[in-house]
Each structure stands twice: as structure tokens, then as C-alpha cells.
């Protein structure tokens, strides 16, 4: 077996791509922050032409918006392949065969999916060297905490992963879909029950100036023919995101309508100028992250197996429960448990919802009062969103990372089977 010497971190730069459910982060290894944020969706018009990046926001007739991701994993590889190619040609301005490629996978990624990743990287893109990095490992490296408990709350998936000495035990990894998008769903549902129509920014030519609660009487809107519902929904989600970002809040204790907290309002103005002061629903839309069943969504059936590492697990758990499940499956000494609880990392974009990290801390402190848990929560917003990418960037630059690279020659010789050995 001929083995080409894998690249050394110090002399070769690689491209690092993290395909998140909402945003894809792209940059060069060794950098602290990614160079590009690109929405992980694509538009497809009636002729089957794909649009990526900023082009996705252009209102086109009969054009649908699709996401190639599902449950944190790549689902539509054809789309992902052309998305990666587009990243190279339109964002990086280089050929894929010029530099090694590192991508990030969630820890529950299937073997078939890993093999597919290899196939796309080597056959479609012709990259010279390729590697897959597990998100929690990247996070652990970024934080310089080889033993840590990682709570990552993204847009589509929230997960709890114990990392011990730089590796993870698959059965202890738990994830659920009660994450950022779930909050969006609650906000949307709430607004619908109040008969508030969301007019996304792409339609608004001019905002109206209105008193709170006053409906828009003469909307000044653009008109686009044949807009598909998926495009409208995608644009609407941007408004929901803004609401979540600026108005939603998580109560520091389990929410009750009686808490004084619930009575303090916060105004939100929609793109068309409609505005209102929101009270308790700021909290009730975020509370489901921790108590998914407390605020049932009419007309929405929560999907089965929306939680758990094993299929068929139908219990619906909030973040605190995920944590409990994960730790209870761990087969470790009390010393390791202490180390884990002393290195709790909270990251992911959704963790930025006002009050959420405080609430998680509160719950864990109550669960383990005698262990005096300690937390590592990156303070800067962008840092907390980029933890995984930065970790992958660091990993791609480490010499010890050698064993997990696959070169084009190796792939040509052994094929996608290699995924099983290298990317365990």
C-alpha cells in the first residue's frame, strides 16, 4: 500500500466546510473565523436550475427553496455536490483539486452517509485529500477541553455529547429537534392564532408608520408573479428569526404565567411596519426548548423518534432531559464525571436566545448541586456560533490528525470502504 505522506498542518492549508442546517461556514484551516456564511438552502426554478448564496433571496417565478440537510446530516447529496462546487467557483475562486477539504459531520451520521461524502469529495470534486471531522470533537478541541460535556443548540438539532479524552461514546450522544427552528414554529403558530400576517422583507417597498397593534391599512408592496409557498416560507423564517433574536426570551425558572417576568413586555416591529408589544409569549415561544410538550402546537404532530440515539425512542425530551439521558448512559468513574461537569460547553446559535444559557446552568446546578458544575460558554456571539467550524479549522492544522485523512490515491485503491476505518 502506497501511502502518500499526509499534509502537515504547518505547510498545507485546507478548505474547511461546515454544513449547518441553516448556515454553511466556509474558510481556510488555521483561521479563527470562517470567511463565508452561506445559507444552506438552494432555490430550484421550473427548469431545474439551482441557485445558491445570495441568489436564493431573489424572488423568481415558480422557484422552490430546498434544503439538502435533514436532522443535521446531508440528505440530498446531488444538491450538496453542486453546492460545494459552487462554493469553490463563486466564493473561493479556486479549483477543488488545489487544496485538501475538511468537512464536519454530526456524531450520529450514518456510515452510508460518510461513504457518500467520500464519493462526492473524490469523484465529483476531485479533491486531493479529504477528511470528516465530528462536530463535538471539533468543539472540544476549540475549547482546549479534551474531556467535556458539550451542549450544542443549533437551528435544526440540539445535542448533548460527552467527550472523554478526545473521543466520544456513540450511545451517550443524544439529540433532538427541539432547537431553533422549533422556536420559530412556536412563534409562527402564536402569530397565526393572533391573526397576524407576516409580510417578509422581500415584499415590502415601504414600511408604514403605525401605532402598536394598528393594522397596516395601505400596504406598499412589490408584486412578484408565481411565488412558490416554499420561497415565501423561507423569507418568513427570516422574520421569525429576527423575532427570536431580539424579542424571545427564556425564563430563568420553569415558566408560569404568574411569574412577574412574564408581565414585562417587549415590542417587535415587522418588516411592513406592523408592531406590537409582546408579553408572556416571548417566553412561551422559547420555553418549549426545555419543555417541548408544555405548549402543544395545534395541527402539528411532533415527529416520532424526534429524540434519541436509537431509532424508535419516542419520548420527547427537552434539553435538561437530554442531559440526564446522556449522563445516565455513561459508564465512567466519579472522577471522570467530575471532570465532565467541570467542563460543560454550551454553544450553537440558538444558545444565544436571551436567558437560555442561564436557564440551562440553573437546571444543571440543581441536578448536581454537590459537583459544583463549571461552564465554558464563549461570550462573543460570533464565537459561540463558530465554535465547531473553528475547532475543525484547528484540527485540520494538527499533525496528529494524519490518521484521519484520506488521499485520492488511497480512495482510488480502496474506495469508499475506507470511511468505516478512518472516520469511526
Amino acid at each position: 500500500m502506497t501511502r502518500v505522506k499526509p499534509p502537515q498542518a504547518d505547510d498545507v492549508t485546507s478548505i474547511v466546510i461546515e454544513n449547518g442546517s441553516t448556515w454553511t461556514r466556509v474558510g481556510y484551516s488555521g483561521d479563527v473565523t470562517p470567511k463565508h456564511y452561506i445559507p444552506t438552502v438552494y432555490a430550484k426554478d421550473a427548469d431545474g436550475k439551482h441557485y445558491y448564496g445570495e441568489e436564493v433571496d431573489v424572488p423568481r417565478p415558480n422557484t422552490d427553496i430546498f434544503s439538502p440537510m435533514h436532522d443535521g446530516c446531508v440528505q440530498d447529496w446531488d444538491a450538496m455536490s453542486s453546492f460545494w462546487k459552487w462554493i469553490y467557483s463563486d466564493k473561493l475562486f479556486i479549483e477543488p483539486n488545489e487544496l485538501p477539504l475538511v468537512t464536519v459531520e454530526p456524531s450520529w451520521n450514518s456510515l452510508a452517509n460518510k461513504q457518500k461524502a467520500l464519493e462526492v469529495a473524490f469523484e465529483d470534486l476531485q479533491v486531493p485529500v479529504f477528511s470528516l471531522v465530528k462536530a463535538p470533537i471539533a468543539t472540544a478541541y476549540e475549547s482546549a477541553r479534551p474531556t467535556s460535556l458539550i451542549i450544542d443548540i443549533g437551528s435544526a438539532v440540539a445535542s448533548v455529547t460527552p467527550v472523554i479524552d478526545g473521543s466520544l461514546v456513540p450511545k451517550t450522544v443524544f439529540h433532538s429537534r427541539f432547537a431553533g427552528d422549533f422556536v420559530n414554529l412556536h412563534i409562527l403558530t402564536y402569530l397565526q392564532t393572533k391573526n397576524i400576517t407576516i409580510t417578509p422583507s422581500y415584499l415590502v417597498r415601504k414600511k408604514s408608520v403605525l401605532d402598536p397593534g394598528q393594522p397596516v391599512s395601505t400596504p406598499d408592496l412589490y408584486e412578484y408573479p408565481d411565488i412558490k409557498p416554499s420561497f415565501h416560507a423561507y423569507q418568513t423564517s427570516k422574520v421569525l428569526h429576527a423575532f427570536k433574536e431580539t424579542t424571545s426570551q427564556v425564563s430563568n425558572v420553569p415558566f408560569t404565567s404568574a411569574s412577574p417576568f412574564a408581565r414585562i413586555g417587549r415590542p417587535f416591529e415587522f418588516p411592513d411596519g406592523f408592531n406590537m408589544i409582546f408579553g408572556p409569549e416571548r417566553l412561551t415561544t422559547a420555553e418549549p426548548l426545555l419543555k417541548p410538550t408544555q405548549f402543544p402546537l395545534p395541527q402539528v404532530n411532533l415527529p416520532e423518534n424526534s429524540v434519541g440515539s436509537a431509532p424508535g425512542n419516542t419520548i420527547m425530551h427537552g434539553l435538561g432531559d437530554l442531559l440526564y439521558l446522556s449522563l445516565s448512559k455513561l459508564d465512567i468513574t466519579p472522577e471522570v464525571l467530575i471532570t465532565l461537569l467541570n467542563n460543560i460547553i454550551i454553544c450553537g446559535g440558538t444558545s444565544l436566545i436571551s436567558g437560555l444559557t442561564d436557564r440551562i446552568k440553573e437546571e444543571i446546578l440543581h441536578m448536581f448541586p454537590t459537583y459544583a458544575p463549571r461552564f465554558y460558554i464563549p461570550e462573543q456571539e460570533s464565537h459561540r456560533k463558530n465554535v465547531v467550524w473553528t475547532g475543525a479549522s484547528v484540527l485540520a492544522g494538527l499533525g496528529t490528525f494524519d490518521q484521519t485523512w484520506i488521499t485520492k490515491q488511497e480512495y482510488d485503491e480502496f474506495g469508499a470502504e475506507l470511511a468505516e476505518k478512518r472516520f469511526k
Partner: protein, 670 residues
């Protein structure tokens, strides 16, 4: 012509005998005119012909005997005209006498020139003729090789003559500027040279000649520091050397031309490297005795990593710079405006780049580039006016009659006031006033007053007809590049709409990508619209108005929500006194809301509650009136001053860094 220079030169020449007690440490001379006859023969009948009467009349003032010679030879009907130059400035001379062949103004052509009396004066005024008269101070000559007034050959002769007699001369030639621009631009280099003499820096003994590709203006950077506008602009083009495969030259024929940068991207790296070397070498030649200066490159975001590393390598290994760094274009724009948080909207030819700046750093992952720019305006124009060719549409776009009208202006423009006017109906009878439209416009008084004034002007027999402003006219005309005059109607106010709309939406998207929510407002308060595409009259205003219309948070309660350390109870609406926020009291959440005091809320986190354009600082007077489109250069000058003087750590790569770590080290510093 440098009448001044000439006298000064002769002063230097005469100085030892004339004023020996005067200490002259150095003399700088530009656009030398060592031999008057050579000049007269060269410029007659050309664009600089005006120098002839100016020069001769200048001589007459000193040598009255010349007047007799002129009176003897000049044709009677030309005398008055020739004498005009006695009373007007040099620029008027150029205008009046352009392309005049003066030999037709005199009897027997240029015979007067060879008259013994004239020749005597000329000889007295030719430098270096009298072997006893040589300057003893060091000299600095600067002249352009292409000098169309004073041929450089004559200066070369003088240079050789004086050098052979032991005068120290530093002769700075430049290859591509001409007489006038060199005398302006080159003076900075000369000034720098003089400054050194005054500071007592010894000049190298003997003579030296240096030739720079461009004007000596590049020196300006060192002389005037970071405050002046770039005085030269060069096309980014080099030429293939037909004899040496793979080599380049600074001059050549069009078929060998290589343009290394296309649409901000590098298409020919080797050519670009060569071009950078040319600029660097020519800029640093005059100061070759000192340590070579560092190099700062302003780069668009489209340059790839490999290309940048390769340029770094070339800079250290081939150009031999001592320090090197790169800065993104939008970052230097932020430097120039001194705005740590801002948003740069750079409207280019084919694309517009929207780059948020946080803490003087480009937030790279929030940058949005849209494929709309100056060209999309041109293409819209060709759609509106199908008769125009692409080039004509370009010319219209660049002409002063093309502008973007604000909503108010549109109402008050000719078209706003004549809503029924159809395209073919161009009868604008002066007597007919559309009263309804005037009244509706809300500016009745002003409009009527304007009309009154216009009328009075006309009645008072005003030879000057008052031209109505562009927006008040139904038709206006422009001249295309071939000199053809073309009249256009209201289409001249349209074509930018798509660009403005796309741009507005993307600005909102870009700012949403700023993770630090608290900084978004700061960014909204410092918008910078730049780039050549933004030069269109009214375009910046249109973008600004559109942004406000689509994004500004305008609800009446906005300001009472702002957190205040002092609660006066005055600004805050209070439900108890009936001043509650309308609509809110009826509001019930599905939890049967306990909210009963709408005044008690947290304030909001939404931006923008205000949108402003960043103001250019006042302290760059040299840049006033220059136009802010090139402001990136100013920012680069500021950056260079800060970076290479050690005010900020780790922002440039030294030769030492390069030797230890190689080109990839550039990523540690930028």
C-alpha cells in the same frame, strides 16, 4: 512654461559671481528650458504655442531692445493679438494661441528669431553656454522624457556639460508625464530633495540619473504624508515582451497588452507582479540611498489565497521589499472615514459589494456581493431607450443630465407637473401654466416666484437666458463619445431602480449577519456609499431614502423604549393616566395575559432606529472637492502610516518574518 524655473535656474548658475554671500544648499529645477531656441521650434503650431508670445513678451520686459525687433518683423494686423499675452495669465495664453503657427505672424517667417539682437538675448538666456558660469550648489533636475515643451535632449546636454565640471546633479526623469503635470507633480519630489538639503543631509557627490516610469509624483506620499489625493492614476496594463517569451515590458503595442485584473479578479498573476514591481521600483528610485520602503497593497476580496501568497513571495524575493502587508479595500475606506463600525456599499462596474465593518475589521462572513452595478444601469437604459447603443447609454449615464430624482423632485419635475404630457407632445407653451399641478405640488409660492423671476430676466432684455435645471425640462440633450448630440426625455431619470432595490434588500441581509446584535445600530448609523458607480447624481440619496423606507423602525414608542438612567415618567406612556399604547390593552395572550402596564417593558433590540450616512472627517482639506469615490487611497495612506511605524502590532510582515516562516505567514498579520 516655467518662467519661474528659468529665472531660478539662472539664479543658481549666476549665484557664485552674483551673490556669493548667499548660502544655497541645493536647487531643484523642473521642466528645464536650457535652450530657448530648441523650445520655440518645437512648440510652434502646437497646443503649447501660447508659450511663444508669453515667453517673448516676458523677455521684452527685461530686454527692451527686443521690442524693436518685434515691431520690425511682426505683421501689423497681428500685433494687438500678440500683445494680449502681456496682460493675461498663462492659461489664457494657451487657450488663445492654441495651434497657432507664429511664423505666419511675422515677416519672413522665423527670420526675426535669427536676428542678431534676438540671438544675443537668447544666448544670455541659455544655460551652460558661458563656461565661467557654473553652479556650485548641488542640483536636482526633474523632467519628463515626454516633455512636449522643453525637449529633454537639451537638458541632457546641460546635465553633461555641468557634470563634467564637477557639479553634483541628481537628475530625475520620468517616462510618462508631460511638462505641465510634471511641474506640478514632480515638485513634491523636488521639494523632498530640497528638504533634505535644508536638513543638512549630504548629497552624494557627482551626478546621478534616475528614470522612473511614472511621474515623480509618487514621491508625494513621502513628502506630504497621508493627506493628499493620489495625483496620478494609471491604467493597470503591462505589455508582453515580443522578444522574450514570458517577460513583460512597461510599454508596447496594443496587441501585446495584458490587463492583469478583470472585474477585481487577478487573471494574470505574473503580469500583476511585474506591474507592482514597476510601480514600486519607480517610486523608490529617488530615495535609493535609504532603506527601501515597505509596500502596502489594497486588495479586493476576490483575490485568492494562493494568489496573495504568491504576491507576498514575489514582493520579498523579487521586489525586495522590507515590509509588506495587504488590506481589503473596504477596510481602508473605513479608515478614511474613521468609523470603527460601518457598512461600505461599493458600487462597481459589474457588482456591488456590501461589507460590514466591525472594529475596523471587515466582517468577512457578512459580506454580500450582488451582481448589479454600473453596468446594470447601462443595460436598463438601453432597455428604456432601445435606439441607443451600449456606448451611447454609457455616455448618457455619465453625462450631467442623467440623475436620480427623489420622490419630491419627481413631483416637482417637469413630468410631475405635467402628468398628462405624452411622449410626442412636446409643446411647452410658456404662457400655459398648469395651475392645478403647481398647487398640488405644495410649492405654489416658490414656483410662481421662480416663474416671475424667469420672466423678469427675460424682459430685462437679459442676454443671458436662464437655463431651467435639468429636472424642470421635458427634454435635455447630451453629447456622446463621437460628438453626436442626442436628446432624451424622462428616461434620463430612470434605470437605477433595480440596482437600488436589490442593494437595499442586501444591506438589510448583510447587517442581519452581524452576530453582535448590539452593534447593528452603530453600523446603520455609518453607511458609506462609494465606488465609481455611486457618482451618478442623486443615486446615493435614492439608496439612502430607500433604506429608510424599508428598514427604519418608526413606531411612535421607539424613543420611550430606550433605557434611561433617569425615569422622568414624562417620556414614558403610562396606562394609568390614559396615555397607554393604543391597541395594547385589548391584547390577550392565550395565557390570559397578566400584562396590565404596557409602559413596563424591556425596550427592544431591533435595529435600525436611525440610519445615517457616515460623514467624512473635516481634517483632510486636500481631499475636499476631490470626490469621495477614491477615498480608499486616503485610507491606505493612513493605514500605511499606522502600520509601518509600529503603532499597531502584528499588522505587517517583515523580511525577518518572511525568512523564518515563508509567504504563508502573511495570514498571521492580515
Amino acid at each position: 512654461m516655467n518662467k519661474f524655473t528659468d529665472y531660478f535656474c539662472r539664479a543658481a548658475q549666476l549665484q557664485p559671481s552674483y551673490a556669493p554671500e548667499l548660502t544655497i544648499v541645493g536647487t531643484a529645477l523642473g521642466g528645464l528650458v536650457p535652450n530657448v531656441s530648441s523650445v520655440l521650434l518645437q512648440i510652434n503650431g502646437g497646443p503649447f504655442a501660447g508659450l511663444i508670445p508669453a515667453g517673448i513678451n516676458g523677455m521684452v520686459a527685461q530686454y527692451s531692445e527686443l521690442q524693436d525687433v518685434i515691431n520690425q518683423y511682426i505683421l501689423p494686423d497681428k500685433k494687438a493679438k500678440f500683445d494680449d499675452s502681456k496682460s493675461q495669465c498663462l492659461l489664457s495664453d494657451f487657450a488663445e494661441y492654441v495651434d497657432t503657427n507664429f511664423w505666419t505672424w511675422f515677416n519672413n517667417g522665423n527670420e526675426f528669431f535669427y536676428d542678431a539682437r534676438t540671438q544675443k538675448v537668447i544666448n544670455e538666456n541659455t544655460m551652460g553656454v558661458d563656461p565661467t558660469q557654473i553652479p556650485i550648489t548641488p542640483l536636482y533636475f526633474y523632467q519628463s522624457d515626454e516633455d512636449e515643451v522643453a525637449p529633454i535632449v537639451a537638458t541632457n546636454t546641460l546635465y553633461n556639460q555641468w557634470c563634467s565640471k564637477g557639479v553634483s546633479i541628481n537628475f530625475q526623469k520620468s517616462l510618462v508625464s508631460e511638462h505641465i503635470s510634471e511641474s506640478i507633480e514632480g515638485s513634491a519630489a523636488a521639494y523632498s530633495w530640497l528638504l533634505d538639503r535644508l536638513n543638512g543631509k549630504p548629497v552624494a557627490k557627482g551626478c546621478s540619473t534616475a528614470t522612473s516610469l511614472f511621474s515623480n509624483a509618487l514621491q508625494n506620499l513621502q513628502v506630504f504624508g497621508s493627506i493628499i489625493a493620489a495625483t496620478i492614476e494609471l491604467p493597470t496594463v503591462v505589455y508582453k515582451d515580443p522578444e522574450n517569451e514570458g517577460k513583460f515590458k512597461s510599454t508596447g503595442v496594443e496587441k501585446d497588452a495584458v490587463r492583469p485584473i478583470v472585474a477585481s479578479k487577478i487573471v494574470d498573476l505574473a503580469a500583476l507582479n511585474y506591474f507592482i514591481k514597476l510601480i514600486y521600483k519607480s517610486a523608490t528610485k529617488p530615495v535609493a540611498s535609504y532603506i527601501p520602503p515597505a509596500l502596502l497593497l489594497v486588495t479586493p476580496s476576490q483575490w485568492t489565497r494562493g494568489q496573495i501568497e504568491s504576491i507576498t513571495q514575489y514582493a520579498f524575493e523579487t521586489i525586495q521589499v522590507t515590509g509588506f502587508t495587504l488590506i481589503p479595500t473596504c477596510q481602508v475606506v473605513a479608515y478614511a472615514h474613521n468609523t470603527p463600525f460601518s457598512l461600505i456599499i461599493d458600487i462597481g462596474k459589474e457588482r456591488t459589494e456590501i461589507s460590514p465593518i466591525s472594529d475596523f475589521q471587515v466582517v468577512e462572513n457578512a459580506v454580500i456581493t450582488i451582481p448589479y452595478g454600473g453596468d446594470s444601469i447601462t443595460s436598463e437604459i438601453t432597455k428604456l431607450l432601445p435606439d441607443l447603443s451600449w456606448e451611447q447609454a454609457e455616455d448618457l449615464k455619465k453625462s450631467p443630465i442623467y440623475e436620480v430624482l427623489s420622490e419630491d423632485d419627481t413631483k416637482n419635475s417637469w413630468f410631475g407637473l405635467n402628468p398628462d404630457a405624452s411622449e410626442d407632445n412636446n409643446l411647452e407653451d410658456d404662457g400655459v401654466v398648469d395651475v392645478a399641478a403647481i398647487v398640488a405640488s405644495g410649492r405654489t409660492r416658490e414656483i410662481l416666484a421662480e416663474r416671475e423671476r424667469a420672466k423678469q430676466n427675460e424682459e430685462s432684455g437679459g442676454a443671458k437666458k436662464v437655463e431651467p435645471p435639468n429636472m424642470d425640462r421635458e427634454f435635455n440633450s447630451f453629447v456622446d463619445r463621437n460628438g453626436k448630440t442626442i436628446e432624451v426625455g424622462k428616461q434620463r431619470f430612470h434605470g437605477t431602480e433595480t440596482l437600488v432595490d436589490k442593494l437595499t434588500f442586501s444591506v438589510g441581509e448583510a447587517i442581519k449577519r452581524i452576530d453582535q446584535i448590539i452593534r447593528r445600530q452603530d453600523i446603520w448609523d455609518n453607511l458609506i456609499i462609494t465606488g465609481r458607480g455611486s457618482r451618478i447624481k442623486g443615486l446615493k440619496e435614492a439608496i439612502f431614502v430607500n433604506l429608510q423606507a424599508r428598514f427604519l423602525i418608526l413606531r411612535p414608542t421607539t424613543y420611550s423604549e430606550l433605557p434611561s438612567t433617569v425615569n422622568t415618567g414624562y417620556n414614558t406612556p403610562n396606562a394609568n393616566n390614559g396615555g397607554g399604547t393604543p391597541g395594547f390593552n385589548n391584547f390577550n395572550s392565550h395565557l390570559n395575559s397578566a400584562v396590565n402596564n404596557p409602559a413596563l417593558h424591556q425596550g427592544h433590540g431591533q435595529a435600525p432606529t436611525s440610519i445615517k450616512l457616515a460623514k467624512m472627517p473635516e481634517y483632510f482639506p486636500e481631499w475636499k472637492g476631490h470626490g469621495w469615490e477614491d477615498v480608499a487611497f486616503l485610507g491606505a495612506e493612513i493605514a500605511a502610516k499606522q502600520y509601518f511605524t509600529g503603532s499597531i502590532d502584528n499588522v505587517y510582515m517583515s523580511r525577518n518574518d518572511y525568512n523564518s516562516f515563508g509567504p504563508a505567514y502573511i495570514w498571521e498579520v492580515i
